[in-house]
Subunit: 300 residues, 2 copies
């Protein structure tokens, strides 16, 4: 990175960088099974802000880790995120017909292919961590990254949070609701923020902890902010398992309490930034983004 | 292993060993999210012959690799297999209401939970490879195993084969049909047979190649044998994507040709065994199992 530039000036470069990497690791739609490969590319390359990769690069800056060493986890985390969107949109989950202004993958290719697209994108994420040349000679880092990301993506993380969202009941207390948010949405932010610590295991425990605190607050604040922007989120169908959907934070505790909570979380993030001195530019940018001050346009 | 025992005598021990490992790595149904964890355990621990783990242990014997070094890949490959069964049974795929004599996971828990069960079991497989203590000090082996298994499970392997099965057309030629079989079913057998080579990278190229040839023939023969045992496999619904389901090998080329093909594949397997001398007992057992000579009862 060129440290004379601000993170905002470098942001589009990071988005282009992760898009180029995703473009290279996704199998060509000209190779068998062509239909599946085409659908995988559509699911990933139709756009997106690449916010989780930006968290990765911002945390790498804070931890003093070269950008190139977080290219693979940035792409892997984005692949995990994309797989989860494809499966989330399916009729048995949120039943969304559109994603990023286009028909969702199951509407374009059928539910059977959408299921396989999500499955294969998840597998590709682990393949990128195991094989991408940017981590050649860093097998220990590859293993720590698979460890971190599986914890964050699996039943103790994102997938578990989705289950809580479907079956968590309609009167959760604050701790229950925020646990669901921290897993469903927060866990991948946590993975992104801690990925630099996997490639630099000598990072001071205190700094690693500050990255974790920052990511936890960011993920929670980001999701509450999303609730505020999208208050018609009660259209979702009831889960099939007989449980009850969790309400959103805003539905459960109200708009004013949500705004106050975002204020508290912002103070936590700012305090965590203090540990990184003049290397906190990327983290500060993320706070501004969460608060709606930057637009971070999608790449296509 | 106790080399004075035959593989048949050790077989139940291997099954118990992988079951014990699966039992330990699956999250407790008493921890949040309890419903998802219970469903994951049901999907894995309701039984099964653990055939892919047996391939792993047989190949380890052939390659002179200690059993303990293939415990993690044996369990991981079984988790990948179990996730694929849960997703395959869903209404948008094969729409099977029963699995191993009990209602399939989506019938017991709903489609939403079944989708998450499959997703989380896949993630758990990679977590086992990255973290299981049997591979402590072997980070290079962990990375090679993730590389091998992702190739075999992803769009170039199992998931891609499932797509070909759904959309491969109703008049495939022999090469097309066998490519679909080699990926959909054969790829996980290949992963199991080559896992020992990942923990012993100094294995002679010739022996690695013989394991690969053996596994390729076994996977294909096993699936054709399955077709012969289950000739009512045309009940499957048409795929949603507008493609056409592949016929089974037996439907496409007939019973007699199928039996001849199994004979050819058996000869290939026997020839590959010749490279391993008196360490081929497990591989020989697998040939017998494929031909229906051993029963290999399930564990529960």
């Amino acid at each position: 990175m060129d440290s004379s530039e601000t993170f905002e000036q470098r942001r589009a470069g990071y988005q282009a960088r992760v898009n180029a990497l995703l473009e290279r690791v996704l199998p060509s739609a000209a190779t068998t099974p062509a239909r599946l490969h085409g659908a995988m590319r559509e699911a990933v390359m139709r756009g997106g802000k690449r916010l989780r990769p930006l968290v990765c690069y911002a945390a790498a800056e804070a931890a003093g880790v070269p950008d190139s060493l977080v290219d693979a986890p940035a792409a892997a985390i984005e692949l995990i995120h994309c797989y989860s969107l494809v499966h989330d949109d399916m009729p048995c989950m949120d039943d969304d017909d559109f994603r990023r202004g286009k028909p969702s993958i199951h509407k374009m290719y059928g539910e059977d292919t959408a299921l396989l697209v999500g499955d294969a994108l998840q597998t590709l994420a682990w393949q990128v961590l195991a094989t991408h040349s940017s981590l050649n000679g860093h097998d220990g880092a590859r293993v720590r990254l698979v460890d971190l990301l599986t914890e964050c993506a699996g039943s103790a993380g994102m997938a578990g949070g989705q289950d809580l969202d479907l079956n968590g009941g309609d009167r959760p207390d604050l701790a229950e609701l925020e646990h669901a948010y921290r897993t469903k949405t927060g866990a991948l932010f946590r993975a992104a923020a801690l990925a630099p610590a996997c490639v630099r295991p000598d990072l001071a425990v205190r700094l690693r902890h500050s990255l974790e605190v920052f990511a936890d607050a960011l993920g929670l604040a980001f999701q509450i902010r999303d609730d505020l922007a999208d208050r018609d989120s009660d259209r979702r169908q009831q889960p099939q398992g007989g449980g009850a959907n969790l309400p959103s934070w805003v539905q459960r505790f109200g708009t004013q309490a949500a705004q106050e909570r975002i204020g508290e979380l912002t103070a936590i993030m700012r305090s965590a930034c203090g540990d990184f001195g003049d290397r906190a530019g990327g983290l500060q940018w993320l706070i501004g983004f969460m608060r709606g001050r930057h637009s971070a346009s999608t790449m296509k």
